[in-house]
């Protein structure tokens, strides 16, 4: 206990040194925490990719139709939306393969509860603020296995609802400004909030893992789209459909069906190639992040060791006096260790505020112990190797 008391007195007596040490250790732990959070993200991503890989063959549909013909003729045909609906139903309800579909929709919202941090972009001319929206079908929700922090997922009725108010699931960040049941702009009723950091990937568009935190997700209300002749939405959602099948022959069937309905000409591409890219780019990113963090961490640790060595040099006289009075070198090391350990544990309070009682905190505390040991190691060796005469002579 005496060593603990001396350690606290040393910390208080050397406020500036202790503060620098505290900053160094805080930076180190924050970096570790950051690295861990992102490595968890990577793990999630890999898990999802692995999950997709279980489908063996997932295919993206690339429209290679004659665009002139499509835009000048097809879209003007009276029944094109009905044919598209027919095709969509055939794709999504087909028993020979699985699929999921989604589409983006920029939402111009004016609700004064909205915060600018949620704005996706602002139209220069009108000044309208645009928020990220996503329309999806039930298979999309099931495929990504989304979890909610509050509320419920879409039910069958939500997809077939034709009323004016659309049930939506808002991203986590919206939960700061809205409650369940709130209606935004008399148009969107919030029935749920996604868990923080809910993500999906758009393999076709960018291959990146995309966050839903600032998005509003709406169900694809087919019947309403049909009623409103929403050709654009059908076109978008059909062409972002991902086909999951082990039987490549269904791709021919899809093409056959599309041709039969006078719609698109497709080229199918396996997502494996795209996933390879995701793995590679994510791996590279995480590796770069790790390298960067490790470099900073290395310098932080060196800084902390130098700090301790300097402290040892400055205090050698006082430590020598304690040795003269009956302290062993080991008890001196314990005193130094308490100082380091206390200053190392302190930043965990910050981690506690950021992450709460989580695995991150536990890892951070364990890391603190490891860092303390690492930082004290060099001064420990230095002190143990210095003979008593030298310590006492330097104290004279």
């Amino acid at each position: 206990m005496n060593q603990l008391r001396y350690a606290f007195e040393d910390i208080v007596h050397n406020k500036s040194r202790s503060f620098v040490f505290f900053l160094q250790i805080t930076l180190s732990l924050m970096l570790f925490s950051f690295m861990l959070t992102h490595s968890f993200d990577l793990q999630k991503l890999i898990k999802k990719i692995t999950m997709t890989n279980e489908y063996k063959n997932a295919y993206l549909m690339f429209d290679i139709s004659d665009m002139d013909k499509f835009f000048n003729e097809t879209i003007y045909e009276d029944d094109v939306v009905e044919r598209m609906d027919n095709f969509y139903l055939w794709l999504t309800e087909n028993k020979h393969f699985k699929s999921y579909a989604f589409s983006y929709e920029d939402l111009i919202l004016k609700d004064n509860r909205l915060d600018d941090s949620l704005v996706s972009f602002t139209y220069d001319l009108t000044g309208d603020k645009c928020y990220s929206g996503l329309i999806c079908n039930e298979d999309f929700i099931n495929f990504f296995d989304f979890r909610l922090s509050k509320g419920r997922l879409f039910n069958t009725g939500d997809y077939s609802d034709t009323s004016n108010i659309i049930p939506v699931i808002a991203g986590y960040d919206y939960s700061k400004y809205f409650n369940l049941g709130d209606v935004i702009d008399s148009e969107y009723r919030i029935i749920g909030f996604f868990e923080k950091d809910s993500r999906y990937y758009d393999i076709k568009a960018c291959g990146d893992l995309l966050s839903l935190d600032k998005s509003i997700v709406m169900p694809f209300q087919r019947e309403k789209a049909l009623q409103h002749d929403n050709l654009g939405l059908y076109d978008s959602i059909i062409n972002k459909t991902v086909i999951i099948t082990e039987d490549e022959r269904v791709l021919d069937d899809i093409q056959k069906k599309s041709s039969e309905l006078g719609l698109y000409t497709y080229s199918f591409r396996s997502v494996e190639e795209q996933l390879g890219y995701i793995k590679e780019s994510s791996g590279e990113w995480v590796l770069s992040l790790f390298t960067f963090c490790m470099i900073i961490l290395f310098f932080c640790i060196i800084g902390m060791i130098c700090n301790m060595l300097q402290m040892l040099n400055n205090y050698i006289r006082e430590l020598g006096i304690h040795i003269l009075c009956g302290a062993s070198k080991f008890s001196i090391v314990i005193r130094l260790f308490y100082q380091v350990f206390f200053l190392t544990l302190l930043p965990n309070i910050i981690i506690l505020f950021i992450h709460g009682f989580s695995s991150n905190l536990l890892i951070s505390v364990l890391l603190s112990v490891l860092l303390s040991t690492l930082v004290i190691l060099v001064p420990f060796i230095r002190l143990m190797k210095t003979d008593m005469n030298t310590i006492l002579r330097r104290s004279e």
Binding site: G320, I321, C325, S328, D387, M388, N389
Partner: protein, 222 residues
């Protein structure tokens, strides 16, 4: 009388091979309980090394050291620290006080490492005896040389050790103050403490009952 300290053929060599320095060569001596002994000799003669070995600060390279008939040899650091704490009180030339501590806190340092049950009030008693009771809450840095040395003596006595090792205790003090300090040490000797004083000062040596002269790491006369 029985020997409280007995050294037999103590040799202390610092450094290795080409850089070897022989600080002590075959030193044998015996100090009786209750003696006050002066160790004199020129600078670099090995006086402080001898005191460090006796005080369990350093270990001899060769030879045997008995403290109260117990052989101190290859002891663990922890044991050496315990012996240093409980059996010896140290008084050194530069006082060895922690400047940022108060007088009383300096005096109490040895109790932090002691297994002896000693009341903290003993510090007050000692400070009173040494005329420092009014200074007990003053920082060590604010004391005069003589006062500092008296604090060092109080600290040396706090654990009630048998032996006081004083390395040039008057070296940093003026003549009168040095005399006062020696007077305290002789009084302690009269109370039964064994005192070993390393000194250059012949007047200080004269106040001791025996003088050991050491030159080139060897004892010339005891």
């Amino acid at each position: 009388m029985m020997s409280i300290i007995k050294l037999e053929n103590i040799t202390k060599i610092y450094g290795k091979k080409d850089n070897e320095v022989r600080a002590l060569s075959n030193v044998s001596l015996s100090i009786e309980k209750g003696e006050i002994v002066a160790v004199v000799g020129p600078s670099g003669s090995g006086k402080s090394t001898l005191l460090n070995i006796i005080g369990c600060i350093d270990s001899p390279t060769e030879g045997s050291y008995w403290l109260d008939n117990s052989l101190i040899k290859n002891s663990k650091q922890k044991d050496m620290a315990r012996i240093r704490n409980e059996r010896f009180g140290f008084v050194v030339q530069d006082f060895a006080l922690v400047e940022r501590y108060t007088v009383k806190k300096n005096v109490l340092i040895p109790l932090s490492y002691s297994s002896k049950k000693i009341s903290k009030n003993r510090a007050d008693e000692l400070l009173e005896r040494l005329g420092l009771s009014e200074k007990k809450n003053v920082l060590a840095s604010d004391l005069s040389g003589g006062q500092r040395q008296r604090v060092a003596i109080a600290r040396a006595l706090i654990n009630d050790p048998d032996i006081i090792l004083a390395d040039e205790p008057t070296g940093a003090l003026d003549k009168n103050t040095g005399f006062e300090v020696m007077k305290i040490l002789t009084e302690l000797n009269e109370e039964g403490k064994t005192i070993i004083v390393v000194t250059h000062n012949s007047r200080v040596a004269e106040m001791c009952s025996r003088v050991i002269t050491i030159e080139d790491g060897m004892i010339r006369n005891t």
